[in-house]
């Protein structure tokens, strides 16, 4: 992005450390570049500067008073002290001011463990309180504002949340009313939040004032471990972390992972909270055979056996692949079925949105609810293979030779866009569906095979911006669910003895995918956690 004509850098000394930064930077940003932490509440890299919390005060040589580093531009030769006695004293003072009316109810606060009041008190405070509890100003607690719970008493008025609803979602629901110590954060009409990105408010609130209803009191955060992944609920592919309790191996929350090229610090509420299908009632747990409307629990062994037998006449088989599959799964399935002589492949995608000219919602969301349509196209062109759309499938049906349709990788409970592919099949064609969930639209299938969810498998995907990103399994597969690799292996052998080797996706990525896509060798482990922008598809 930056031009080659280098902007002349200025040199700043922060706590005896010299850094060279571009002149458009603030002292705070220069400190970040120098690896020096300055305490802050209101500053946020993806919001405008407010300069209201006064936590980031630092000493600047020659300036008579302390300066807020978040809003002080750098100057060449500037000397800054972030932890001199004077600066420390001021930071402590600001903190004390913030805590004057704070209820300090950490034991019953869900933010405890990731609260910046707690963190900074340990690091910069440690004074003895001069305020009696009964002298504090009290405000509403645990107020319902929709997806988020608001505890006005805990709010330190940093205005991150009001800036978010003003600058990011442009919905302006949150305001601070009144003045002085009666200032209070609320939704202006006391109604619920009305935007698709509310979960981010719980992330950016540095204290326990805004917490997400979905996560409240589910887990103390110090019991959780975070794994880097990407969201698969739409074609944006926002970067995420998935929090799992390593003891129970259960998934508790999905949060944004900052990537300025894709999602800044945000994700939408769908991406954050739709994961519940993973443990949902409708989740398929074992292979099921359906005959005469009766559902019989079956085994992978039997399913693979039947599929292998059907493969003896590959001309009667069509393979449908959801654009929710990873690049590696697509490659694996196509190569393996081609080897068995199958000729027809169908792309199962939301066809109504795939050709749309302005598919974005203005913030992040893409109208295509599948994550890998771009990767799908690249994999097929790499393999020099043609795929059919829904109309193509109908035409193929018209030829009259089709006996089996096997659709793979349908994920989630909201896949109504896929039903037209099922409807295109006449009665005489038997349908085998590899999906995460049992849905009414799958009713006509003869086999339902439990698919691993996006949280249970690893691989790469290419988002609608043309960025190659890495999906990483965060939880073990639920019951007998399998990913595309395991299924391809099983069908090949017609038996359930050899599941796919654990690191199959790594193998395929390193040997077959990396070089054609990236134009160079790439080790899976070292793939940039922020993804890599690919060259445009020709």
């Amino acid at each position: 992005m930056s031009t080659d004509v280098a902007v002349k850098k200025v040199s700043v000394t922060i706590d005896d450390k010299k850094v060279e930064v571009t002149p458009d930077k603030t002292v705070f940003q220069a400190a970040v570049e120098a690896g020096i932490f300055v305490p802050h509440y209101c500053y946020h890299p993806d919001l405008s500067i407010a300069g209201v919390c006064r936590m980031c005060l630092v000493e600047v040589d020659n300036a008579p008073k302390l300066q807020i580093s978040c809003n002080t531009p750098v100057r060449d030769g500037m000397v800054v002290r972030t932890s001199s006695d004077k600066a420390r004293q001021a930071q402590k003072g600001s903190l004390e001011l913030h805590l004057i009316n704070h209820p300090v109810d950490c034991p019953i606060c869900d933010k405890a463990g990731e609260c910046k009041l707690q963190d900074f008190y340990r690091e910069f405070g440690l004074y003895k309180s001069r305020v009696e509890l009964e002298d504090k100003v009290h405000k509403p607690k645990a107020k319902d504002i929709g997806t988020i719970v608001l505890d006005a008493e805990r709010c330190i008025l940093c205005t991150r949340c009001t800036r978010f609803t003003h600058e990011v979602t442009h919905t302006d629901e949150l305001v601070i009313v009144n003045r002085g110590n009666r200032s209070e954060l609320k939704t202006y009409d006391d109604g619920p939040l009305r935007n698709d990105y509310t979960g981010n408010l719980a992330d950016i609130c540095p204290v326990g004032a805004l917490t997400a209803r979905d996560f409240r009191f589910q887990q103390r955060v110090w019991f959780l471990e975070k794994k880097n992944s990407v969201c698969t609920m739409c074609a944006r592919g926002c970067n995420t972390t998935v929090s799992v309790n390593p003891k129970t191996k259960k998934l508790y929350r999905v949060e944004p992972r900052r990537n300025p090229e894709v999602n800044k610090s945000w994700i939408c509420d769908t991406g954050r909270w739709r994961y519940h299908y993973v443990y949902g009632e409708s989740r398929l747990r074992t292979p099921e055979k359906i005959s005469d409307g009766r559902v019989l629990e079956s085994t992978w062994h039997q399913a693979f056996g039947e599929m292998k037998r059907a493969l003896e006449d590959p001309s009667g088989i069509v393979i449908g692949l959801s654009t929710q599959l990873t690049n590696e799964e697509i490659l694996e399935l196509v190569l393996s079925f081609k080897e068995s002589g199958v000729k027809h492949f169908v792309r199962i995608v939301d066809e109504q949105v795939i050709e749309e000219r302005s598919p974005w919602d203005g913030v992040l969301k893409h109208r295509d609810h599948t994550p890998n349509a771009e990767g799908f196209a690249r994999m097929f062109s790499m393999m020099n293979t043609k795929f059919l759309d829904c109309a193509g499938l109908a035409a193929l049906v018209g030829e009259g030779n089709l006996r089996h349709a096997w659709f793979f990788g349908l994920e989630g409970e909201d896949v109504s866009w896929a039903s037209r592919f099922v409807e295109a099949l006449p009665e005489g064609v038997s349908l085998t569906l590899h999906a995460t969930s049992r849905l009414p639209i799958w009713e006509r299938a003869q086999w339902l095979l439990p698919a691993a969810s996006a949280f249970e498998k690893s691989g790469t995907m290419v988002n609608a911006l043309g960025r190659l990103q890495r999906l990483q399994a965060a939880i073990p597969r639920v019951s007998l669910a399998r990913d595309g690799h395991a299924v391809a292996f099983g069908v090949q052998r017609g038996a359930d003895r050899d599941a796919a080797p654990e690191a199959r996706h790594v193998d395929l990525f390193e040997k077959l995918i990396a070089a054609p896509l990236l134009g160079r060798e790439q080790v899976w482990k070292k793939l940039d956690p922020m993804g890599v922008a690919l060259k445009e598809r020709s």
């Binding site: 305001v175 003045r179 009409d189």
Partner: protein
């Protein structure tokens, strides 16, 4: 002329004033304060429908209007009766005996601070510095200052006057 759909409305003539006010500034929202005063004069107090109406006239998010209104004590967001007594309780006035004025008013009216009398004739609030510290303690009745050597006795008389005659010349009661 600015036109919006709303359950409350300014008259044609007031809408012209609104347009004139808006034209005075670079951005419509700069005219917020004078237009809020206008709305308060017209509707008595600034209820949520009125605030939404003002927001739509100025093409501002309603939240911003609620925010501003809550900041200033001179804006009323509920029906405060015919006479709203506003006693300053900031530093100077407090030092000069504002509390005694509040007590006197509470006694005469039979309602506490922030209260409205049942007959909707009076309400009582305390406000921040009215900018007349040199004449402290001061009080304001609706938009009129009452700032001459005010004491408890005079507050009581003033209330009596207002109640009996329905009006008063403030100069007289405080002379």
């Amino acid at each position: 002329m600015t036109e919006v759909s709303s359950p409350v409305h300014f008259s044609e003539q007031m809408l012209e004033t609104v347009d004139r006010l808006i034209a005075k500034y670079e951005k419509p929202e700069c005219a917020l304060l004078p237009i809020l005063h206008l709305a308060q004069d017209q509707f008595g107090h600034l209820s949520p429908p009125v605030l939404n109406y003002v927001a739509s006239l100025l093409k501002m998010p309603p939240g911003k209007v609620f925010d501003v209104v809550s900041f200033y004590t001179m804006f009323k967001t509920r029906d405060m009766g015919k006479w709203c007594l506003q006693i300053c309780h900031n530093v100077t006035c407090t030092m000069m005996g504002a509390e005694r004025l509040v007590h006197a008013a509470v006694e005469s009216l039979g309602v506490g601070v922030n209260g409205v009398t049942e007959d909707k004739q009076f309400s009582l609030v305390t406000v921040e510095c009215l900018g007349s510290c040199d004449k402290a303690p001061v009080m304001q009745v609706n938009n009129e200052f009452v700032e001459r050597a005010l004491d408890a006795e005079k507050v009581k008389n003033l209330i009596k006057d207002l109640r009996e005659k329905g009006q008063t010349t403030f100069e007289e009661v405080t002379r």
